[in-house]
Amino acid sequence: MNKATLLRRPAWRMEQCAPALLLGLAVLIYVAIALSLGLTRFLTPEATVSILNRSVALGITAVGQTFTILVGSIDLSVAHLISASAVVSSAIMNGDPAMMVPAVVAVLVMGAVVGTLNGLLITRLDVNPLIATLGMALIIQGCLASFYGRFDGSVPDAFQYFAYGEVLGLPVSLIVLALLVLGAWIVLRFTRFGSNIYSVGGNRDTARAAGINTTRVVMASHIICSLCAALAGLYLASRLKSGSPWIGTEGAYDLESIAVVVIGGTILSGGKGGIWGTVAGVIIFSLIDSIFNLAGIDAFAKQVMRGIIIVAAVAFYAVRSKRIVA
């Protein structure tokens, strides 16, 4: 018994540090290419910050997506919610700095409502999460297109501080993302709600039998995910000065955020993984982009390789598991 646990331990460890290994590999390739091409200006701290800054929207979305995937659910409506929140916030603000707070509140309320609806569909009506959130995505898209056919309104300069402002030489948006990650880590690691998420994701029936209110845990995870997507929409509105109805779908934030979370070692069926893997996944994604830019690979070839890399990265640690997946 004792021997068995001892023998099994290294494999378990390997799985734990797989995202770190992948991240190390990506950093190594990046540095090697930059050095071999003599482009040392891409290795300065400023360059590092700009690489990280490029994936703030994806990072914020992925933090939320981590919660839904950990609880054994999934959210495909984030991309359309991002578009909706960018459009709604810029339409409400309409260049007026006084409307900033109402707009932010309205967008966050919208996010909470969407999250609640997703959660209700999944828990109360027992709809498969993929279908529930896909249906929600179509509904949001339709509402957005019919209410804001012509999107006008823009974000006041003061609001652009979110995307372009700097504190102590670090971009505000990056600090917000870092705080969000820290908060998510604390919630998942140290609170009862966090451990409930893992139990419900691991086995919903067992969790219910153990006295956990599974409905509430799933609902809360979906609300967190939608709030994060709304925040990502606010960030994009602030960066681009106005929201457009295709901003979220164009970035493919729904599928990219899922890919990032899964590359970070969180298992799609839930209950295993964590926020730091997601962070590693986000950084890997932006490093891949930077590597392709440095190497001067054509945009379409980039896309082909990106698809292969997503699958290869997930296969990297999925291949050792004995589980049958579908």
Binding site: L121, L125, D126, V127, N128, L130, I131, A132, L134, G135, M136, A137, L138, I139, Q141, G142, C143, L144, A145, S146, G149, L255, I258, A259, V262, L268, S269, D298, A299, F300, A301, K302, Q303, V304, M305, R306, G307, I308, I310, V311, V314, A315, A318, V319, S321, R323, I324, V325, A326
Partner: protein, 333 residues
């Protein structure tokens, strides 16, 4: 005790006999929709009306009939839409405006489809990547490949010989006047897929695999091979749908966008159970026709595209809620 067992077996037998003639509700919904379309547009009863409707629905119906294989086996195939795009763009690049190459190009496209299906199946079976991620990666890759092949702007057009399948009709048939080739293709493909799914051992193994992979493996189902066949069926149906779509739509890099989700929606409307174990080919085809009928009806009523999205979303959710409700009431899981 024995008495009880016999009794319960008997009631179960009666129940299953009672359930046998139960027709999938999707067929009633489809019939109701067709009646509604006829009321809003009386021309629909004319052969040109309903034949054009069936012709337009054929690619989605074929795609759904292939997708149901993967859904029954417990997975998803998100790469179908991008494979349609690749088929259309690739054929136009290979044909290079010459009509003689048609058959050869179609063979190449089916070979590409076969390869895509096999790779999807291998990645899911042996690398143990969940099909959602594996086929998502394939989707991104194939879209990139279509862009790369055409350098972003596909040139040329598809010659008449290639467009024959999507466009042409066989004239002079009694009773229905004409039969679109696309519908003929749908009937043939639909029958083959129906037969494989519901009349052969392969179909039973697919259902067993989707229902409980571990149990299927222990009772001797070659789960890897069966899963690969499911993905191949989906990919080949996507190539077929691509060839038909190349017939009516022009060549562009977004012909296939959104088709994978519509096909999954069609299967769900047809009562398929996501994550495997339950699904039928005719019901999925009926689901695809239902979806197309809904869009046609909304078009006749004059609702704009955004409203169609909302309606598709509501229908998708409603179909699943209804299926879950029926299943719970029937006592199954």
């Amino acid at each position: 005790m024995i008495q009880e067992t016999v009794g319960s077996a008997k009631t179960r037998g009666v129940a299953s006999i009672g359930r046998l003639p139960k027709i999938n509700p999707v067929f009633f919904v489809l019939a109701a929709l067709l009646v509604a379309i006829t009321f809003s547009n009386p021309n629909f009863i004319e052969p040109t009306g309903y034949m054009n409707f069936l012709k337009r629905a054929a690619p989605l119906a074929i795609l759904a009939a292939g997708q149901i294989y993967v859904i029954v086996s417990g997975g998803f195939d998100l790469s179908a839409g991008s494979l349609i795009t690749l088929t259309v763009v690739g054929s136009s690049m290979l044909l290079d405006n010459s009509a003689d190459a048609t058959w050869w190009v179609i063979a190449v496209m089916y070979a590409v489809g076969l390869a895509v299906g096999v790779v999807n199946g291998l990645v899911v079976s042996y690398l143990r990547v969940p099909s959602l991620i594996a086929t998502l990666g394939m989707m991104i890759t194939l879209n990139g490949a279509a862009f790369m092949w055409s350098s972003g702007s596909p040139r040329g057009y598809l010659p008449e010989t290639f467009r024959f399948f999507g466009r042409a009709s066989i004239q002079g048939i009694p009773l229905i006047q004409f039969l679109p080739v696309a519908l003929l293709v749908l009937l043939v493909v639909g029958f083959i897929l129906f037969w494989l799914m519901h009349r052969t051992n392969l179909g039973r193994m697919l259902h067993a695999l989707g229902d409980n992979p571990r149990a299927a493996q222990m009772s001797g189902v070659p789960i890897e091979r069966v899963r690969i066949i499911a993905f191949v069926a989906s990919s080949l149906s996507a190539v077929t749908a691509g060839i038909l779509l190349g017939g009516f739509a022009g060549v562009s890099t977004d012909v296939g966008v959104g088709y994978e989700l519509q096909a999954i929606t069609a299967c769900v409307i047809g009562g398929a159970q996501l994550l495997g174990g339950r699904g039928s080919v005719p019901a999925s085809i009926a689901g695809a026709l239902t979806l197309t009928a809904i869009f046609t009806l909304l078009n006749f009523i004059g609702l704009p595209k955004p409203t169609r999205d909302v309606v598709q979303g509501l229908i998708l959710i409603a179909a699943v809620v209804l299926a879950t409700y029926r299943r719970n009431r029937a006592g199954g899981t």
